[in-house]
């Protein structure tokens, strides 16, 4: 798909990234990448499977969630300039974006609402917190804003299976 020149360009990008100090957004993104793998946990007593995969030659991270129902949202993470962004391809049909910020101790990544495309008639996801406990254990707290302004959330306690 890409020419040799283009491949060379990608290499140059990589070298540049190493040569200069990593941005906070890049550090946060790299932290998120440590979650790559498959995870299992429960939500309200029911099993939940989460997969995180580094894609696009390291430029994106894909998060997939599957419970015992039809829900199967996709969330994409990427660095956008000096920001770490996520775009949540929601089961309700819209696509909220959030900006991530790492805690001073590096153990928590909090994503705050930026904007949303698509209808919000049924609400939208608005806030997510990833808590890194150890290499095989993390939690995710997702918060959904209902159309009436109320919020609902859920804490996913996840153990690595691969």
């Amino acid at each position: 798909m890409k020419s040799r020149r283009f491949v060379l360009s990608v290499v140059l990008i990589s070298l540049s990234a190493v040569a200069f100090a990593q941005s906070d957004a890049q550090k946060s993104f790299d932290k998120m990448k440590t979650l790559a793998g498959t995870w299992e946990g429960t939500f309200e007593g029911k099993p939940l499977h989460v997969s995180l995969r580094v894609t696009s030659m390291g430029n994106a991270l894909m998060h997939e969630m599957k419970g015992d129902g039809p829900e199967d949202p996709i969330t994409m993470f990427n660095v956008d300039g000096d920001r770490l962004l996520l775009t949540h391809y929601c089961d309700v049909g819209n696509r909220p974006r959030m900006v991530g910020k790492v805690s001073p101790d590096g153990n928590t990544l909090e994503f705050n609402f930026l904007d949303v495309s698509g209808s919000t008639q049924y609400g939208h996801m608005q806030h997510v917190v990833f808590n890194f406990i150890d290499s095989d254990h993390h939690t995710e707290k997702w918060e959904f804003a209902m159309a009436d302004g109320k919020t609902e959330g859920g804490l996913l306690d996840l153990r690595r299976t691969k």
Binding site: R4, M57, A60, D72, I74, N78, G123
Partner: protein, 176 residues
């Protein structure tokens, strides 16, 4: 989280209630999106390029298309045997538009708007905008051509700096 599921159920109920109307007045973009959903599955085929790119020409590639987000999105994944390329493309409806966002190996994220041909055999995506650096170019155009249930073609155009197009042609047969 329970409300999230409930919200999704509301969407389904609404969809069912208005199914009859929807069938009669289904928008062109919804038809295009539904057409793309028929590609869900695993595909394999050879890559040809113009101008020829020695590093990928004739190589075997794998494409997966998956309907996700309770039918609201399609995930397109592409890999080439022996190469690190693994871009993700998300396809979805945005109001009265069919959009794709291409999470490119080059690190940027172009969006394109899709239109189905009158006879329904192709869906063509035209460049809309791009997020992220385009210093090394960006994906610019894509066409999906539907041949039969087990055979489709994808034509992707990458725009190198200086607006030099590189065209990649994927002739894909369904493997699953």
């Amino acid at each position: 989280m329970k409300r999230i599921a409930i919200s999704a159920v509301f969407v389904l109920i609404a969809a069912t209630a208005f199914a009859a109307d929807a069938a009669a007045t289904q928008s062109d973009v919804q038809k295009s999106f539904d057409k793309l959903k028929t590609l869900a599955g695993s595909w394999e085929g050879r890559v040809t390029t113009l101008p020829p790119q020695a590093d990928v020409e004739g190589k075997l590639m794998q494409v997966s298309l998956r309907v996700t987000s309770m039918g609201n999105a399609i995930v397109h994944e592409a890999t080439i045997t022996g190469r690190p390329d693994d871009p993700i493309t998300m396809l979805y409806l945005d109001g009265d538009r069919l959009l794709l966002t291409h999470y490119c190996d080059a690190g940027n994220r172009p969006r394109m708007v899709g239109t189905m041909s009158p006879e329904g055999k192709t869906v063509e995506f035209e460049f809309l905008d791009v997020a992220g650096s385009t210093q090394y170019g960006h994906m610019h155009h894509a066409v999906f051509t539907f041949l039969d249930a087990n055979h489709h073609i994808e034509d992707w155009t990458y725009m190198e700096p200086g607006d030099k197009p590189v065209h990649a042609h994927f002739d894909l047969q369904r493997t699953k």
